[in-house]
């Protein structure tokens, strides 16, 4: 590490030498702001007519070589540029004045930028600089709690795992609910950010309303998130920035109070089941003294995170460049999970010297390797390691004879009795063994490439083209080792076959191409009328192909390579039969999707006070046929800059803008996924495995020829404001989003052989909400800068209409159902009414209010509790004192519910479950025992098991609201004086922590989830602490 830095510094010296020869005179000075006289770091200083440029340092100081009579240009985003000629003095101090016309830049669609002042749409921009220190593998996780109305829900602690993103509530029942993601103009796979380097990102723009998102019409019914990566600047010097981080990850605090060895053995003894029932008091005592394992300590670990990031920017007269390299490595907190990424990015921009022609090429290549633990959420005892970590029995020792953690618990591969005995209580050993021996790995290569060019070929006319590719290939490999405990069971003949084990592998290639050509007309008439009209044509195509195989039977000496594969033709005589135990399976996929769109966007401004925008588009989807192919969508928006009115003169507002928009967007992703719902308009047959191992031909799909676009109509009214010289800034938005022609199953007779349903466009759902985003600069002087920010949103989702055939209720079994007048994801359960003091049986409330011991579907009621939150948001503080910066970022969700099967399993008391091989919560000591006992826990041996309670009752339906300290960072930038003798222009050290504190009533590992209904053995998100250093030179 140290070696690397030295090498980089040497490289830097070489560049310094080269530049130095050409200079004549050194001009130094300080750039400050007019309003408060504070130094302005990061302002650019350019020698006019040359490519020589510099940026001011943290104290606003600069130093640049120039000739006398040269002109220096001082500029900074949001300030009026100033030109100064170089005189005889070698000191030039400049104060820049804030430019009210050029406020905060907002990125809108297709690379266009507008200012907060002129935009008519509801857009929230997050400058990614504030997220740069964070340690999450996926860039999106850093966004949680930053934007009002945006929820980034991460349901797994696997580094690099996908998050579920919801903007302004879930907008569809079965279709896609996530917003469109656009990186540098390319629409990208919203489910895959692990191979993208978060530190390359310059900003996130969250496009919320119809006016903003309509430009991406056919895919942006749920809004859009436009990500812009970093670029170089024209006329800037060569700059390096190197960041290195190192840190640890660990399990968050656990809310469970589990029985210890003594307690669980005594509990088994009292209830006459399990090992405890066979031991005497002294034997229990001896065993409890000897072993008391916390299996979570065995399965979870303290992992490490480290990363190296180098970026290089440079810019000349007509071109600039940004290059970055990153290596990122993070262990999961669960044994066997890890993530590594190497990424390279190059963003190049060029222009003609008359600025008429601009072009850019962005290229990013990311390679990642993920070691995973599958099985989270699974009820399969031997394949969910997370359940073993929670529920392993404490009297089982995790140690081998030599004192190390055991890899097999002394169980021989294929020993069915040892595996299944005592309610499969040895399952933690089986899982430890599987983790130690098996392979579960994904390797991904992701390439994002985009090219754009604009040519202002005639007065007021600009033609543009943009081509983009999102390519990813993934190789997933799973090896179940033949010498693992479960290995021998894997062939068709199980343990009787000579070879066990499975190797499954899949290769997938996903290629998405997008092109947009446009023609823009922009003109200003009579100084007061500005008109901007663009017509676009877009072409989009996605190709997914891949193949997979599963090989049964591996030679244990050769595991890991194809040489281990036992041929399918191998025969073995088993129980007198000649069999083929090793028949492999293979598969292949080729899928294509496509869209074509024609659209137009108009923006009109009058006198800087009134603005109007409108968009109209025609979208064609390959998913529909005939008249339904084309959808027509449109939006209108308007703004009134009230602060620009004469009557506002002298008010405290430096910005007060009222805006409103209304429009319709479409969604053609019927099945939710990008490559789903490919041919639902056609009657199809399939050939597959039929009777007696032969090939059969049967009906696979009954057509619905009337499928069409799902349409979302959104109305938004918002107010943007900045008060007291932007001391307080903020935005309020109120919206209503109505989705019609929802993709839903319509009920048809089972006689159609479709399972009783067919995909149709039926029903209506509404999301209504309010959003507030605020930031306030409390204090600002030469030493101290203190600001606070907060955002919050309220979203009420309601299903207004379901298919008429459903009579207002779609109950597909399980704990949630769809009901008219209910929120999407509402729990539909029988109320649990405690324990009958007379006999210890659980009681349930019937519809008429009476109590019963019988659990019936007909007693289910909507609970007004949903898996989607009603309130969410975040708040934070930013305190800077001289070189120190201290920031905190909190996030919260409220009114969100989840079924807690983990806790239910720890309270399992159903008949016959005592010896189920799993530990329990100490709360079972409160179980009903005698007539008259008043308790919450039914008697041991009562009728219903944990899954019954979860599926049918609200006993374990818990409030999963939480408030989490998402991030806390303490940073220190070395003062300029300290660096004077070093060949570096800035050094910054920081210490940051993710998810350090959580407040929640939820009785599970992690209250955060990706909006799932039930928690069972999930991978909790970790705490991460990292120490980082950034060096600029």
């Amino acid at each position: 590490m140290k070696l690397k830095l030295t090498w980089l510094l040497t490289l830097f010296m070489a560049f310094v030498m080269q530049f130095s020869f050409a200079q004549e005179k050194t001009i130094t000075g300080t750039v400050t702001t007019v309003t408060d006289g504070l130094p302005l770091p990061g302002a650019s200083v350019i020698v006019k007519g040359t490519s020589r440029g510099q940026q001011t340092d943290f104290d606003g100081k600069f130093s640049i070589k120039a000739n006398e009579n040269d002109i220096l240009i001082f500029s900074y985003v949001g300030f009026v540029s100033v030109e100064k000629s170089v005189g005889s003095s070698s000191v030039v101090n400049v104060a820049l004045k804030a430019d009210s016309q050029l406020d905060e830049v907002v990125v809108v669609a297709y690379g266009n930028a507008a200012s907060v002042r002129t935009v008519t749409a509801a857009i929230t921009t997050v400058n990614a600089e504030i997220l740069e220190d964070r340690a999450n593998a996926s860039a999106l996780q850093n966004l949680q709690g930053q934007v009002a109305g945006l929820n980034i829900a991460t349901g797994s602690g696997q580094p690099g795992s996908d998050s579920t993103i919801i903007l302004r509530g879930p907008g569809s029942i079965n279709g896609n609910i996530e917003p469109l993601f656009v990186v540098d103009g390319i629409p990208v796979d919203e489910d895959n950010f692990r191979s993208i380097n978060p530190t390359d990102i310059a900003s996130f723009a969250v496009l919320k309303d119809a006016a903003a998102a309509n430009i991406y019409g056919n895919r942006a019914a749920n809004g859009a998130i436009v990500i812009t990566t970093k670029r170089g600047r024209y006329n800037q010097g060569l700059e390096f920035k190197y960041t290195s981080t190192f840190g640890y990850n660990e399990l968050q605090d656990q809310p469970f109070e589990l029985m210890n060895s003594r307690e669980v053995l005594n509990w088994q003894n009292q209830n006459n089941g399990g090992l405890g029932a066979e031991l005497s008091a002294s034997e229990i005592n001896a065993l409890a003294n000897q072993t008391n394992t916390n299996w979570a300590d065995v399965f979870f670990r303290k992992g490490t995170t480290n990363s190296h990031n180098l970026s290089i920017t440079s810019g000349g007269e007509n071109s600039n460049n940004f290059t970055s390299l990153q290596y990122f490595e993070q262990d999961g907190i669960f044994i066997g999970s890890a993530f590594k990424r190497f990424s390279v990015r190059n963003n190049f921009s060029g222009k003609s010297s008359n600025d008429k022609f601009n072009y850019g090429l962005n290229l990013s290549v990311g390679v990642s390797t993920t070691n995973e633990q599958d099985g989270s959420g699974s009820g399969s005892t031997f394949f969910n390691p997370f359940s073993a970590a929670l529920q392993g029995l404490p009297y089982l020792s995790p140690y081998a004879a030599d004192g190390s953690i055991t890899r097999d618990g002394g169980i021989q591969p294929g020993d069915i009795n040892a595996i299944l005995g005592r309610g499969a209580s040895n399952f933690p050993y089986v899982l430890l063994n599987s983790i130690a021996l098996n392979t579960d790995k994904e390797e991904e290569v992701k390439v994002l490439a985009s090219f754009n060019a604009n040519w202002n070929f005639a007065k007021n006319l600009t033609a543009g083209i943009q081509l983009g590719v999102d390519y990813s290939s993934e190789r997933a490999i799973d090896i179940l080792h033949p010498e693992s405990i479960l290995g021998p069971f894997q062939s068709a003949q199980g343990v009787d076959a000579q070879f066990g084990g499975i190797q499954s592998e899949s290769f997938l290639r996903d290629f998405r191409f997008n092109s947009v050509t446009s023609l823009n007309y922009n003109n200003t008439f009579g100084d007061k009328h500005n008109l901007d009209v663009t017509v676009f044509m877009e072409y989009l195509k996605g190709h997914l192909d891949g193949f997979n195989y599963s090989q049964f039977g591996l030679d244990p000496r050769l595991v890991g390579s194809g040489a281990a594969f036992i041929p399918g033709t191998t025969t073995e005589v088993i129980n007198g039969n000649t069999t083929n135990p090793y028949i492999d399976t293979v598969g292949q996929t080729t899928v294509t999707v496509g869209n074509m769109s024609l659209f137009s966007q108009l923006d009109y401004e009058y006198d800087g006070k009134y603005g109007f925008s409108a968009g109209i588009r025609r979208d064609n989807s390959f998913r529909f046929i005939d008249d339904n192919k084309w959808g027509t969508f449109w939006s209108v928006g308007g703004r009134w800059n009230i602060d620009a009115e004469p009557f506002m003169d002298g008010s405290a507002f430096n910005l007060l803008k009222l805006r409103a928009s209304h429009g319709i967007s479409g969604n053609d992703r019927i099945a939710g996924t990008y490559y789903g719902g490919l041919n639902l308009t056609r009657n199809l047959y399939t050939a597959g495995t039929g009777y007696n191992g032969s090939v059969s031909t049967v009906a696979a799909q009954v057509a619905n020829t009337s499928l069409r676009w799902e349409e979302t109509t959104q109305t938004n009214v918002g107010l943007d404001f900045q008060i007291w010289n932007s001391k307080l800034t903020g935005a309020i938005d109120v919206y209503e989003k109505k989705t019609e022609d929802l993709f839903q199953n319509n009920n048809i007779s089972l006689l159609n052989a479709t399972g009783g349903t067919i995909d149709s466009n039926l029903g209506t759902m509404v999301n209504k909400g309010v959003e507030l985003q605020l930031s306030y600069r409390l204090f600002n002087d030469s030493d101290w800068r203190i600001s606070v920010n907060a955002n919050g949103s309220y979203n009420k989702n309601e299903i207004e209409a379901l298919p008429p055939s459903s009579n207002g209720l779609v109950n597909n079994g399980g704990s949630t159902a769809l009901g008219e007048g209910q929120s999407l994801g509402s729990f539909y359960l029988v109320p649990y009414a405690g324990v009958n003091p007379a006999n210890g049986n659980p009681l349930f409330r019937k519809l008429d209010g009476s109590l019963t011991e019988t659990l019936l579907d007909e007693d289910r009621v909507f609970s007004d509790k949903s898996i989607y939150p009603v309130f969410q948001g975040g708040f934070g503080t930013d305190i800077q004192y001289k070189g120190f910066a201290f920031t905190t970022q909190w996030s919260f969700v409220a009114e969100v519910y989840r079924n807690n099967l983990d806790y239910a399993s720890l309270q399992e008391v159903s008949q016959g479950s005592i010896e189920n091989g799993r530990n329990r919560s100490v709360t079972l000591f409160d179980a009903w025992q005698n007539v008259g006992d008043i308790t919450e826990v039914p008697r041991v041996g009562s009728a219903f098991g944990s899954v019954d309670y979860i599926n049918s009752t609200d006993r374990y339906l818990e409030d999963a609201s939480f408030l989490r300290l998402r991030n806390i960072t303490l940073a220190y930038s070395l003062p300029k004086e300290a660096l004077e003798k070093l060949p570096v222009s800035g050094v910054r050290l920081y210490l940051q922590g993710e998810n350090l504190i959580t407040f929640s009533k939820y009785r599970g590992w992690d209250p955060e989830s990706n909006f799932r209904t039930t928690d069972r053995g999930q991978f909790p998100t970790p705490k991460i602490y990292t120490l980082g250093v950034t060096v600029n030179f």
Partner: protein, 488 residues
């Protein structure tokens, strides 16, 4: 401005030169339309194989299932196993549920999917023209399709009809075409169903090709399948005519009762002596043993076990059934001991896999039992007793059979006992109690230790409405014309 027009035209020409149809008119690779799917007789044959594959009375697992599972869990032949996490508890306790995944849904849906597939292939046969030997073969295929369509309709009648003896009761929906998704249907009456079913069977009998190679194997539907089905239908509709006894004798002449060794071999799928029809289950198919086991028969793996009551009966008679049906790894602590681990061995695994066995659907012993019942109902009590004794002798049973039965009730009671033992876990018990129970005044009565294993209900009376399954909720939702059965 003029020169710009050329530039603009050029740019638009450029953008339009990208053809758009390839993004808007996409047929995925591997889309198979009906015309492409069935072009030749071989394709039609593959359609028939799909119909066979669709029919899955033995399907299910982990506490769900179809008719095989239903007859076991709803009756008195099961208890919760050592490995139980509650699999089947709701069904065992007769909790009314007819949503997706429930027994009523599974049976109804499976039979009508099979009927739908059969009707599609029958439609193709009408559309395509065959001549000569191809026509003979096409007719043989058609016969099998009609027979399986009849079987499915009959089974719907069995499960969803309140009263078989009342010809005006609502039964199944007669389906001899592929419906439109917007169609709705009321059920036909039992008499309409039986007419429809018999017509299919009689037509089938005229179409079978006696020289077709499939006749040699009991995994294919043949004339004997149709004869057998006619016997089952006769029993259900209460047609006790002696012609049926003759039909039974015809079948028994071709399919003698298996010897002790053949019987054991039959359950290992190595002997077909008394098998008239069985559903072939090979590598890759679902394992029928997984209705009772997580993995395959063995200790600690069974979530459903044999009831103590059935075990006691088998243990008392000894012989081939005791040996074949009870897994040797079972643990018998004592009579009716709650700790008994009674592992079901009727599907012990085969060359195809550890949990995979053919489902022996139609066996000579059932013909023997049908014959006994027909004899009893014709007051031929001594003949009936002899018929039962023949079966017991073949099984090596120690149970004594009287020389003659004193009356019909005594005869039926003994035949019911024999049916319970011989046909356990083959999809009969619940239907037998439904059919004969009201005559004898018996419902389900379970051993108290067995029902305690589920904390469950021990008895239901023969008049309980739940003996007739509910029309599934999905059908009610999608078919506004249909009537639900009483009390649901």
């Amino acid at each position: 401005m003029k020169k710009h027009i050329f530039k603009i035209l050029f740019l638009f020409a450029l953008s339009l030169s990208v053809s758009c149809e390839d993004a808007t008119d996409i047929l995925q690779e591997g889309e198979l339309t009906e015309d492409a799917a069935y072009r030749s007789l071989a394709d039609v044959q593959s359609g028939l194989l799909g119909v066979y594959a669709a029919y899955a009375p033995d399907g299910g697992g982990n506490g769900t299932g179809n008719s095989l599972y239903a007859n076991a869990i709803l009756g008195d032949n099961l208890k919760a196993g050592l490995a139980s996490n509650g699999q089947g508890a709701q069904d065992y306790n007769y909790v009314v549920s007819f949503t997706s995944g429930s027994i009523p849904h599974n049976i109804w849906n499976n039979r009508y999917v099979t009927i739908n597939f059969a009707n599609r292939v029958l439609g193709v046969l009408d559309r395509l023209t065959f001549t000569g030997q191809e026509l003979v073969e096409a007719n043989h295929i058609k016969a099998q399709l009609l027979a399986i369509r009849a079987l499915c309709h009959f089974e719907v009648v069995q499960y969803y009809t309140t009263d078989y003896s009342n010809p005006n009761t609502l039964g199944a929906i007669n389906m001899d075409f592929v419906p439109e998704t917007s169609d709705v249907f009321e059920r036909n009456t039992v008499s309409e169903n039986l007419t429809f079913i018999k017509e299919d069977l009689n037509t089938a009998l005229t179409l079978f090709d006696p020289s077709n190679a499939t006749n040699a194997s009991p995994i294919w539907i043949s004339e004997d399948f149709v004869k057998f089905l006619k016997l089952r239908i006769a029993l259900t509709e209460g047609d006790s005519s002696t012609a049926n006894i003759t039909l039974a004798n015809e079948l028994l002449a071709d399919y003698p009762l298996a010897s002790f060794g053949e019987y054991i071999g039959m359950y290992l799928d190595v002997d077909d002596t008394e098998v008239i029809f069985k559903l072939s289950r090979v590598v890759g198919d679902a394992g029928v043993a997984q209705l009772f086991y997580f993995n395959f028969p063995g200790t600690g793996d069974g979530f459903l076990e044999m009831s103590n009551e059935l075990f006691n009966l088998l243990d008392a008679e000894g012989g081939a059934r005791r040996q074949a049906f009870v897994n040797s790894a079972s643990t018998v602590v004592g009579p009716n001991d709650p700790a008994n681990e009674l592992l079901i061995n009727k599907y012990p695994g085969s060359a195809a896999g550890q949990a995979i066995n053919d489902f022996k659907m139609m066996r000579a012993s059932e013909v023997q039992l049908i014959k006994a019942e027909l004899q009893a109902r014709n007051n031929m009590f001594a003949d009936a007793a002899t018929t039962i004794q023949e079966l017991r002798t073949a099984r090596g049973s120690a149970t004594a059979t009287p020389a003659s039965y004193t009356n019909l009730n005594v005869a039926l009671t003994d035949i019911m006992l024999e049916r319970r033992l011989e046909l356990c876990y083959e999809g009969h018990r619940w239907l037998d109690i439904k059919r004969v129970g009201p005559e004898l005044g018996i419902g389900v009565t379970r051993n108290s230790v067995d029902c305690a294993s589920f904390e469950g209900i021990c008895d239901i009376s023969s008049s309980d409405f739940r003996f007739t399954l509910a029309i599934p909720q999905s059908e009610i939702n999608g078919n506004t014309a249909i009537s639900q059965n009483p009390q649901y």
